[in-house]
Symmetry: C2
Subunit: 255 residues, 2 copies
């Protein structure tokens, strides 16, 4: 299977190579969003591609910061670790999403990034990106939007962890995946979990057993169907209500 991939024609014969920004399917979601062809190619020139095997690190806490990474293929998890060795997954990244923005301030990565799949990333040397900023205001603008999105997305996690019960947390998790896959042109109702139950539990501040129980409950309630890591969302509307803190049976209450 993997060998087939290597049978593709020699690279670098054109800028529309699937490995270039112009030819990348994440073009509209990723950093080049909104750039014209010329600027996209200038961005492309500073970017290197790297494969990251499943379960291996893209970077580690404390590594010197040099580059941001965009996920080209695959999935990642990012986690922090305290002095006692307790880990907390702070996010899962999928194609078109950026990794490493938390390192800009201290010039050191603030978390570990590990591939959940055999993955591929675009390596974006940050000092070169900064050079482009001075010449490409559209790029700079979009970069600010991306960082802002990261902040918003973490606020959503804080909301989940600070405010929600187990079932609600898991619903919010599924709905978030659903939305993100839909954005990428995949089915919002059928997808595969790329992470273990343990990862999900860690991310949601729950145990692996609680995740299992929530899956069982939601299956019983006819909200989802799950076979191993394959998820089918049967009632996205109810799941969304649940995630929003509105009990599926009640009308919203305003205070």
């Amino acid at each position: 299977m993997n060998q087939l991939v290597q049978l593709q024609p020699p690279l670098a014969i054109s800028n529309l190579s699937p490995r270039s920004c112009s030819g990348c399917s994440m073009h509209q979601i990723c950093l080049p969003m909104g750039l014209d062809e010329c600027d996209t190619q200038r961005l492309d020139k500073i970017i290197g591609r790297r494969k990251i095997a499943r379960d291996t690190h893209l970077y580690r806490i404390g590594d010197r910061f040099t580059s941001l990474y965009a996920v080209r293929v695959g999935h990642f998890k990012s986690y922090q670790e305290n002095l006692a060795g307790d880990r907390q997954i702070t996010g899962f990244q999928m194609t078109g999403e950026l990794l490493g923005m938390d390192a800009i301030s201290s010039q050191r990565y603030q978390c570990d990034a590990v591939a959940l799949d055999d993955s591929e990333v675009c390596e974006i040397p940050f000092f070169m990106l900064e050079n482009l900023f001075t010449q490409m205001p559209t790029l700079l603008r979009h970069f600010h939007r991306v960082m802002s999105q990261e902040i918003t997305s973490e606020q959503r996690v804080i909301m989940i962890l600070g405010n929600m019960r187990a079932e609600q947390r898991f619903a919010a998790f599924l709905v978030n995946l659903s939305v993100r896959y839909a954005t990428r042109g995949y089915s919002p109702t059928r997808f595969q979990l790329r992470m273990t139950r343990e990862d999900i539990g860690n991310y949601l501040g729950l145990t692996i057993e609680s995740i299992s129980r929530m899956i069982a409950k939601m299956r019983k309630d006819g909200l989802i169907e799950v076979q191993q890591r394959n998820v089918e969302v049967l009632d996205l509307a109810s799941l969304t209500k649940l995630a929003a803190g509105v009990d599926a049976d009640e009308a919203p209450v305003h205070h």
Copy 2:
């Protein structure tokens, strides 16, 4: 007391007015960090000052985004609200810290910002700031650091909410305040809580009663002394260990 403040000489007689960036004591922490006098004044020119009375809103969820705000005097809280009306405080801001970065992406504020004190902010119209970016690379760089810090700081909250028990959460909260006050030249061991117990509980994903009990316990353990909102940290080292997930009595365990 407050009348005395108004007896100061007429403003705007010099760029060193305490209301200008150059004369502001947060100069080294806030957005102008690292700028020379000339650039600081250029930044200063686009900034307006606004007073925000205690318990009033600086902005609300959904308001159109026009400006970032730097806290000049006082304290703020930011919170989100779900459809059911449940709130989650996502952060407390003190002098020199920026508000509104989560709005850049969607062009709408993603949370409510409310003053905890009678406060004053510097209003920074974002489109004007973007103009300055093209001319002041140092400013741009620092802005990226500030956004990155915001991301890191939220990851720390995620760690607290996802991983820690009540006592640890509250310890982490106090240590964080301690560090931030120290950075601003105030005592790291004696400070005043600007928010209610309820706000603290909401922020930490706990109830007001749990906060009370944690205070009682820590007082009994000789870690802190609390009178109303006045906190004295008696054993910052132990508190820091507690917050780091290292049991005060044990040596750190490595896995």
